[in-house]
């Protein structure tokens, strides 16, 4: 009887817990707090935070409970992360939510989205310089794409062990875009440039919005086939939305499907974030590089906009280059706020949506390129 009791007590979390479990549980609680009390990306940080709690409860090995133990509940949820199932499904919902009119009305603004992806490759170089292996460096670099599903998609393939810290870094910095971007935007632009008003975009017909997802998908995937899962679902979701006849499917994609997958993804990513990976110098490096990724991406977009203005008769407000950081729609809103601080009647939001959306496409293409260079 006593032996049984001792055996039971020795299998409890209290007996098995180490300092890493405790610290990770505290990290999970902090993320939940940030999500609920501060509303920092609550749809991701709350599931990830709780997933960290679930994944760091000390359990006996080979009991079928741990996330890396085949057949466990968490392991089944993690399957969707490891096999890149969840990110494309999230992109399906994103496509069904997105209106590409802003981009179709003025396609030249797409180049700002391309320029912002320089943050990915600059961070990749920075990670290499800090001693990360190339596949890890690429996974860290993709944080600069400011796209959570894309970051998870690539990291699951190239450096699955780093999914936890990379996902947390990506989503945390996406929530911090209103803090990171404005100083860089003001530093790189003059007041005169910030006051530039842009002409109203042309009306986009329904037919254009129907044709675009098909043309966009074919072109992007022919150029970067690795982007097929992400961009295929993105454009498919958008086609469902624009076709209108499949509104029920579009509604399912942008509500129940994206919400369900977000829950599963968050829990799985959080549970996979273990202390032996997260509480290391590598994680610190990831967080530092992640911040720099966002900064470089912002600068890249703004500077490219200024470069484009050298050749354009109708100038673009360089602030919208910051929206190339594809934290949709946070970075577009930041552009609107910074622009309105200079001129309250200058509405840049709809113009900023063009680079914002093209940044999503650009980061998916960048992920596909890195996968093709470094995968396998």
């Amino acid at each position: 009887m006593v032996d049984l009791l001792i055996e039971f007590l020795s299998n409890t979390g209290f007996a098995l817990a180490g300092y890493q479990n405790i610290i990770m549980i505290l990290v999970g609680i902090v993320l939940i707090y940030l999500g609920i009390a501060k509303s920092y990306e609550p749809f991701l940080l709350i599931p990830i935070g709780f997933g960290i709690l679930m994944g760091n409860i000390p359990v006996i090995r080979d009991f079928g409970l741990g996330i890396y133990e085949k057949g466990s509940f968490l392991n089944y949820m993690y399957f969707g992360v490891m096999h890149d199932i969840y990110p494309p499904l999230i992109f399906l919902g994103v496509g069904a939510l997105t209106d590409f009119s802003a981009m179709l009305a003025r396609p030249s603004l797409m180049l700002l989205g391309a320029a912002a992806q320089i943050g990915i490759f600059a961070t990749f170089l920075g990670a290499l310089a800090l001693g990360f292996a190339p596949n890890e460096a690429a996974s860290i670099g993709i944080i600069g794409g400011a796209d959570g599903p894309t970051a998870i998609f690539l990291t699951a393939v190239l450096a699955p062990r780093l999914i936890g810290p990379i996902a947390i870094a990506a989503y945390s910095y996406m929530a911090l875009v209103p803090v990171i971007q404005p100083p860089i935007m003001r530093l790189l632009t003059s007041r005169k440039e910030r006051l530039i008003r842009m002409e109203d975009p042309r009306e986009v017909s329904k037919r254009e919005k129907l044709i675009f997802p098909i043309v966009g998908f074919l072109l992007c995937c022919f150029i970067a086939p690795g982007a097929l899962p992400l961009l295929g679902m993105l454009f498919f979701g958008n086609l469902l939305k624009e076709s209108i006849v499949a509104e029920r499917l579009a509604r399912a994609a942008r509500t129940s499907i994206i919400d369900s997958v977000t829950i599963l993804l968050g829990i799985a990513v959080g549970a996979s974030t273990q202390g032996d990976v997260f509480l290391t110098g590598k994680s610190m490096g990831i967080f530092i590089l992640g911040a720099s990724a966002f900064a470089v991406a912002t600068a890249g977009g703004v500077l490219f906009a200024k470069f484009m203005n050298l050749f354009l008769r109708q100038k673009i407000n360089p602030l919208i280059g910051a929206a190339g950081v594809s934290a949709v729609p946070n970075s577009a809103r930041v552009v609107q706020i910074v622009g309105q601080k200079e001129d309250p009647t200058n509405f840049l939001l709809m113009h900023a949506m063009a680079p914002n959306i093209s940044g999503v496409i650009g980061s998916a293409i960048a992920a596909a390129i890195l996968w093709s260079f470094l995968g396998g």
Binding site: M103, L104, P107, S108, M110, L111, G113, A114, A115, Q117, I118, I120, F121, A122, F124, L125, L128, A129, L130, G131, P134, A137, R202, V204, S205, R207, E208, I211, F212, V215, G216, L219, C220, I223, A224, S358, I361, G362, I365, A366, I369, L370, F373, L374
Partner: protein, 145 residues
């Protein structure tokens, strides 16, 4: 290995340069394609006009559904009045508006929808209050054709 040596050892510069270039190239191609979509759609919408111009140069086509000669391209209300009146006489009054549109398309009238709209606005075609339409002789008398 750290620093610039690490970057060079892993071909970092080449990867970064190539990756950036491919992302740019991809989005430039997409930009060029998208910027042409609305122009192609505009050309498609005006294809009848171009087709009629080419057809005129080549030959005159006989149509079985209607016994009218090839219409002169109507550019305004006055121009389309005679053609539509003849069609309406063929259909009979009161006539269903969709049938008039259908006939005018088959006869090769370009921009048949907007032409019918012009006639409606000029009150040459008026509703009979029961869902069908009539030709307004009174207004026609006032228009010089």
């Amino acid at each position: 290995m750290y620093g610039l040596d690490a970057i060079s050892a892993h071909n970092g510069w080449q990867l970064a340069a190539l990756g950036t270039s491919i992302v740019f190239a991809g989005l430039i191609i997409l930009f060029l394609a998208i910027s042409q979509i609305h122009k192609i759609l505009e050309f498609w919408d005006k294809r009848d006009t171009y087709y009629q111009s080419i057809k005129k140069l080549v030959h005159r086509k006989h149509r079985s559904e209607a016994t009218f000669s090839d219409p002169v391209l109507p550019k305004n209300v006055k121009g389309s009045v005679r053609q539509f009146k003849l069609l309406i006489e063929q259909i009979g009054e009161p006539f269903p508006l969709p049938k008039l549109l259908d006939f005018s398309e088959k006869c090769g009238f370009p921009h048949s929808h907007s032409s019918v709209n012009d006639l409606l606005k000029a009150k040459l075609i008026i509703p009979d209050g029961k869902g069908y339409f009539l030709w307004n002789q009174e207004v026609e008398k006032n228009i010089k054709i």
